[in-house]
């Protein structure tokens, strides 16, 4: 009973929903601040994302005429819950080494659910621009999942004995040095950074919510608390995806002594890479994005995989 309560608490408070949301919002501020600095602006104060969420909580929720009410409102919740579960799993694995066979596959599945939630919600909103956004998001998911899975399984191949457990990968890295020290995993890591960019729908892959042509696309019809849920989910993804990459490729989170500092440095490096890519690239078309992911990116991922099988 006590352990059930502990699990529920760890999902709801630390390191699940609440903790992830707070750190995610702080990360979103880093993103906005760095973007502002790149553009020679001052940028918003540190509490800006929190103020946004609070404000949205106090606004009216408009449900468009002709929309499927339940689907429209609950689709974002599914995404939020999925990210919360992923974050809880990653942190518990990193802190206590609690894993189970195949949790890596579970994480890969759960990381797709926010995109599916967005697609469902957009399709339920009966707005033509939202449905264009949803179809683009769908194509984007199809495009990036293949290289993503190949890249993650490069890490799995590299670990000996091969394992699908996150804590197995962490143990191997603790004993033999981080995976990022191998040529194959460097290639896989580059692929993953590009995929993370698409998963977050940041430029150059912000095609589903293209501001200028689709007016925020997939979430054009959301307002008030429902929009707050979407914003929270995006913030939590921004926090969870780098943690996932650190866990798989970069030795995991070390939460004692100097390790804390090292962990934060790793996290910030990944975030800054993501934000710099976001600020220096223009948006591509959806066909270019699909060709990019199925062409060069998949080739890089496969080369990484072959190198890993050859033992590099």
């Amino acid at each position: 009973m006590a352990s059930t309560l502990g699990l529920v608490l760890s999902f709801l408070i630390f390191p699940g929903l609440l903790f992830t949301a707070v750190i995610g919002l702080v990360t979103q501020w880093i993103d906005r601040k760095v973007s502002a600095l790149v553009q020679w602006r001052v940028g918003p104060p540190w509490y800006q994302p929190f103020a946004d969420i609070l404000k949205l909580m106090g606004k009216e929720i408009i449900i468009p005429a002709g929309a499927r009410r339940a689907g429209f409102l609950f689709a974002p919740m599914a995404g939020l819950a999925a990210v919360g579960v992923v974050s809880t799993m990653l942190w518990l694995t990193n802190m206590h080494g609690t894993g189970f066979v195949g949790d890596l596959i579970g994480v890969i599945y759960l990381l797709t659910i926010p995109s599916l939630g967005i697609i469902l919600g957009a399709s339920a909103s009966s707005n033509p621009l939202a449905s264009i956004g949803a179809s683009r998001e769908m194509k984007l998911v199809l495009a990036y999942e293949l290289p993503f899975v190949i890249a993650i399984f490069t890490a799995v191949t590299k670990v000996s004995p091969m394992t699908l457990r996150l804590d197995g990968i962490l143990d191997y890295q603790a004993a033999n040095g981080v995976l990022l020290g191998n040529a194959s995993c460097i290639l896989a890591f580059i692929v993953c950074i590009l995929v993370v960019q698409a998963k977050l729908t940041f430029p150059p892959f912000d095609i589903p919510e293209a501001e200028t042509e689709l007016m925020e696309g997939t979430h054009i019809e959301y307002s008030g608390a429902a929009l707050a849920v979407i914003k929270l989910q995006q913030a939590m993804m921004l926090f969870t995806l780098p943690i996932f990459l650190i866990t798989v490729f970069w030795g995991g989170l070390v939460l004692s002594g100097w390790g804390i500092l090292y962990t934060i440095v790793k996290y910030v490096i990944i975030i800054v890479i993501i934000v710099l890519i976001k600020n220096t690239t223009p948006r591509v078309r959806i066909d270019q994005a699909v060709r990019f992911f199925w062409g060069p990116v998949t080739v890089i991922a496969v080369v990484g995989m072959i190198l890993a099988i050859l033992g590099f």
């Binding site: 103020a51 969420i53 408009i62």
Partner: protein
């Protein structure tokens, strides 16, 4: 203070509606977002969808054709929301007040919270108007 109200004051999302303006006022609105003035310092940003907006920046003299669209746009913004009339046209009609197609000004059709005169108003004037408006909320 009510947290949602605090959030509202600290994070105004702007939607920019051209109701028959000559485009000059709109350029001044965009000036506010540029590095020199950078209203993101105060948490303001332009959003693409009416459903996300807190502030409707209306510029232009509101010709007859635009009236239904202006009213519909106002009704689509989730409450609480405010409307700011930008420019002499939006405030009074300006040089177009005797035009054959003039159906404005803006406050004849939707409630306006702040008026920014000028043809076009300077970005400083627009920011000043928003700051004064925040003081009254």
């Amino acid at each position: 203070m009510d947290p949602t109200k605090w959030g509202f004051k600290k994070s105004l999302w702007l939607f920019h509606l051209n109701a028959g303006a000559c485009n000059n006022c709109d350029i001044e609105v965009l000036d506010c977002l540029c590095p020199k003035h950078d209203v993101e310092r105060f948490g303001m940003k332009l959003v693409g969808s009416l459903k996300h907006a807190d502030v409707l920046l209306v510029s232009g003299s509101v010709p007859r054709k635009v009236v239904p669209d202006l009213i519909e746009a106002y009704e689509q913004v989730p409450q609480p929301a405010v409307v700011i009339a930008i420019g002499a046209c939006a405030c009074t009609g300006g040089i177009f007040k005797d035009g054959y197609n003039f159906a404005g000004p803006v406050d004849k059709h939707v409630p306006v919270a702040a008026y920014v005169p000028g043809c076009p108003p300077r970005p400083e004037a627009i920011i000043g108007a928003v700051v004064k408006l925040l003081g009254t909320l």
